[in-house]
Symmetry: C3
Amino acid sequence: MSADQKLSELGYVLPEPPAPGGNYVSAKIVGGLVFLSGVISIDKQGVMAGTVGHDRSIEEGYTAARQCALMQVAVLKQALGSLDRIKQIVSVNGYVNAVAGFPDSPKVINGASDLFVEVFGDSGRHVRAAIGVSALPRNAIVEIQMTVEI
Amino acid sequence: MSADQKLSELGYVLPEPPAPGGNYVSAKIVGGLVFLSGVISIDKQGVMAGTVGHDRSIEEGYTAARQCALMQVAVLKQALGSLDRIKQIVSVNGYVNAVAGFPDSPKVINGASDLFVEVFGDSGRHVRAAIGVSALPRNAIVEIQMTVEI
Amino acid sequence: MSADQKLSELGYVLPEPPAPGGNYVSAKIVGGLVFLSGVISIDKQGVMAGTVGHDRSIEEGYTAARQCALMQVAVLKQALGSLDRIKQIVSVNGYVNAVAGFPDSPKVINGASDLFVEVFGDSGRHVRAAIGVSALPRNAIVEIQMTVEI
């Protein structure tokens, strides 16, 4: 089953890719690799903002990470025309807006990893790093930056 | 117009590339990609230090990010001999030394993105992530890490 | 001398590579590059946890970074079969769990850089970024993410 079919089977609707707010681009293709800009957690209501361990739970962080992943899929679809061109997800860097000492950033970033495997199957498995940081753009809960092979 | 000509037209003078302070190097070429070490914000007076949102403004952060970018151009010139070998700027990771919850790291990192587009034109556009962190080497305001295609 | 011989000459025993705790993998090969997931500082007693500048010293951070590097060598050996396949270490991102304003993350990450050069010689030299962050998985002192050329 193609990733596009899988998306609709799962009931996911791709969001509108964000317009970069500066002199940069959302995606860049170099040889067989697609480099993507970091995207922050946004849903229909706007930026999913807050700090995990303070005013946001791990579960809310997980959902925010999944939204970031869905947004990156939308960016990939826009950049590549079709998701069928994706060979595998290579790397994911997940940054979690969290209180100092927060030990569970992996549980938050699982929201992105799980979505990639749901949509792309085994090709969705990637290497990753989960990092807790003190500040993200627009106070977003999560930011996801990634690389894909086509 | 070449990037070198553009630099002098803009009145930019490339700083002296930093000597790595450990068992690492400033640049590494692998295939068509050049990987660069992170560089921190330094001007003629030394390290541009401080925390955005505390003792540094967004504007000071912007200037610090531009200095980092200029330093990376100097590193590239040293590593490649000529800036004409650069096909495009691929990716930029910008880390901003900022107070917890600081929402405007993109406005700071624009200082680097704008410089790359000033100097390299459309080939200067890149993917990027802007992250707020609690500590950078030598208490620098900004650190920029990047990848370039030759 | 091969990296394997060098390791035993130095008296290093490779730890057991970690099992990823989610829908991701430890290593991914794309063309001539090996991308590795971030690994946190672990020794025989378990996670080396804490915050540099608060309850951990720079020296303890250095040791933690070396343990991360040793773990990545173990991951590489598992992924590649033999360390002889490694052409060079390309890039290292080192994240240090540190108090706000901590200026010495490079001194901590030197623990990883030094190990790579001890084991791989000049091919162990890499580009790197050292970043101080407010939270790492399981409250680890250090996390190391890297890329290698084969």
